[in-house]
């Protein structure tokens, strides 16, 4: 149901590198899971509205008042690499 090319395409979308072994395993496993999931295709769902949130929430906005946030030093403390006062990453175009 999902072939090797699709697995590679989806992995690219997910920014996920897969080893050759993982690609092979994923093709079989995802197909098996999708076979089960596909059973919802049998249901008549015309005129049914979608639910994304189950409990009704109204007036969820809090007052727009500035409060203290993390200091720059604290925000950078867990980063794998920093440069000056920012996160350091490899160049997008090496």
């Amino acid at each position: 149901m999902i072939d090797r090319d699709e697995v590679l395409h989806v992995a690219r979308l997910a920014r996920l590198q897969l080893s050759e072994q993982e690609v092979q395993a994923m093709t079989g496993e995802l197909s098996a899971v999708l076979d089960h999931i596909a059973k919802i295709g049998e249901l008549d769902l015309d005129n049914v509205s979608p639910t994304s949130h189950v409990v009704e929430v109204t007036g969820a906005l809090r007052p727009d008042e500035p409060v203290a946030s993390l200091t720059r030093e604290v925000a950078l403390a867990q980063a794998p690499a920093v440069s000056g006062d920012g996160f350091l990453v490899p160049s997008p175009q090496a």
Binding site: M26, E29, I37, L45, V57, A60, A77, V89
Partner: protein, 484 residues
């Protein structure tokens, strides 16, 4: 008080003993700290060195009296490793504390340790942790369930008085069932999700794993409430009471045919039926109800939850925190290799599944349809609750299974959540209580109610607990490698 007596106390009893002056909070903490440090089940990923000095706040200001609390790893705790069972967050020490943990600490709970879990809460056996599997104190060759398996096993083994977990599709209730303890998933929104490392945001909910129903009520009381930092959190409409019901007179219990037949192990069904008989003796009326779309809940869940996870886990890219792959030749290479190295097999599977379901050309067939199935499931429950007060099912289709037994076939693992996922999709509260043994292993009895019916659930669970008289002590004796 000697250690045997200390470990016999529930959390509520420990609070009372400290009030009465027969036990000090320091003594209690030290006893559990020592016992937890001999953990042979791999429940903990981090243990506190000592109780914080301010744990001796006077009782009037601190209703939980310093009772130690084990916390699932995915709750952010300031300065304390919070790795969500993942290699990609190895060594991560957050700069802030999750609201649920902060509220319990404000009420006087003391952080004892962080508990092992399936990576990012994805799993039903706690075999998917980067920090090794957790074992079940009833039989160390078997899994504790998951994903809150470390929390459940720690409470069952008496390594912690009580623990905090999270439930997305059954991750509190199923491990509670497999370990013979109480687990409660509150109404979606009852407890703030702020500071919980997210899996599926429309489903994730924090809740207690405890030795008995009273402890579950006591912990829940100090967790609920609106939090300005979680826009989906809600004001709990009443105080959470400590349960006291002795009878179930007039309570209508609905038994859904769809969740109590095919696929449920014989011994589990027997224990379930025996518990229904006890409920009738207490005055409950047992009715058959229908949840026609419940058999499709698992399919809908395994579209919605992976879709949300694929989005939530995009944040793990090696830039701001956590691990990063070295010697990348450009930014994209750094992202893709960091994620390859940092995520385990099940997390990769779910990210792939979710990304596929959300990708162009498949969105309507998968995500769109799953959201419509969710509507039908919520409507099924609404219709059922017009006829009955509470719905009861077995919590899990089987007792605890052997390590490795279900890892090769993802769908066989996913079937663990067959009876718990429908309530998650509907956002309603559900509790699992231990109701007996099958082949020497605990069986869970699940009670679900309408939105914000936690007090009624707890009362019904309490009344049943009194007559069932489940004995969890065998797990506490064997759990720490010997008598307490």
């Amino acid at each position: 008080m000697n250690n045997t007596d200390i470990f016999d106390l529930s959390s509520a009893q420990a609070v009372a003993a400290i009030d009465a002056g027969t036990l000090s909070s320091g003594e209690l903490f030290d006893a559990y700290r020592a016992r937890a440090s001999n953990d042979e089940l791999n429940c903990f990923t981090w243990l506190a060195e000592q109780a914080p000095k301010d744990a001796t706040t006077p009782p009037s200001q601190s209703p939980l009296n310093g009772v130690p609390l084990a916390v699932k790893d995915l709750f952010c705790t300031e300065g304390v490793p919070s790795q969500s069972g993942s290699r990609i967050l190895e060594g991560y020490r957050p700069p802030y504390t999750a609201t649920a943990v902060a509220r319990l600490e404000e009420a006087g709970a003391t952080l004892l340790g962080k508990t092992n879990q399936d990576e990012f809460a994805m799993g039903s056996s706690t075999e998917n942790s980067a920090y090794g599997p957790v074992r079940n104190p009833w039989d160390p060759e078997r899994v504790p369930g998951g994903s809150s398996g470390g929390s459940a096993a720690a409470v069952a083994a008496g390594l912690a008085p009580w623990a905090l977990g999270t439930d997305t599709g059954g991750s509190i209730r199923q491990p509670a069932a497999l370990c013979g303890i109480v687990g409660l998933k509150p109404t979606y929104g009852a407890v703030s999700r702020y500071g919980m490392i997210a899996f599926a945001s429309s489903l994730d909910q924090a809740g207690p794993l405890t030795r008995d129903v009273t402890d579950a009520a006591l912990m829940l009381r100090h967790m609920v409430g609106r939090d300005p930092r979680d826009a989906t959190s809600l004001q709990f409409p009443e105080e959470v009471s400590l349960p006291s019901a002795e009878r179930l007179d007039g309570v209508r219990l609905g038994v859904p045919q769809e969740l109590t037949g095919e696929g449920i192990e014989g011994g589990v069904l027997e224990a379930f039926q025996a518990t229904l008989a006890r409920a009738e003796e207490l005055g409950a009326q047992v009715h058959s109800v229908q949840l026609p779309h419940a058999p499709h809940a698992l399919s809908a869940y395994y579209i919605l939850a992976p879709a949300e996870c694929s989005s939530n886990l995009a944040r793990f890219d090696g830039v701001r925190y956590g691990a990063r792959a070295q010697d990348a030749h450009d930014l994209l290479d750094m992202y893709t290799r960091t994620r390859h190295d940092g995520f385990g097999a099940e997390v990769k599977r779910r990210i792939m599944l979710g990304t596929y379901a959300l990708s162009s050309g498949y969105y309507d067939a998968y995500y769109g349809r799953a959201q419509r199935v969710r509507t039908k499931i919520a409507e099924d429950f609404k219709a059922a609750f017009a006829e009955v007060d509470l719905i009861v099912t077995p919590t899990a289709p089987t007792v605890a299974f052997r390590l490795g037994e279900k890892t090769a076939d993802p769908w066989s693992m996913y079937l663990n959540d067959y009876c718990t996922v429908p309530m998650s999709l509907a956002g309603i509260p559900a509790i699992s209580i231990p109701c007996g043994l099958s082949e020497g292993l605990p069986v869970g009895f699940q009670i679900a109610g309408p939105v914000f019916s936690e007090n009624r659930l707890l009362d019904a669970a309490y009344a049943l607990e009194q007559v069932l008289g489940f004995d969890g002590s065998p797990a506490r004796v064997s759990g720490a490698g010997g008598p307490a």
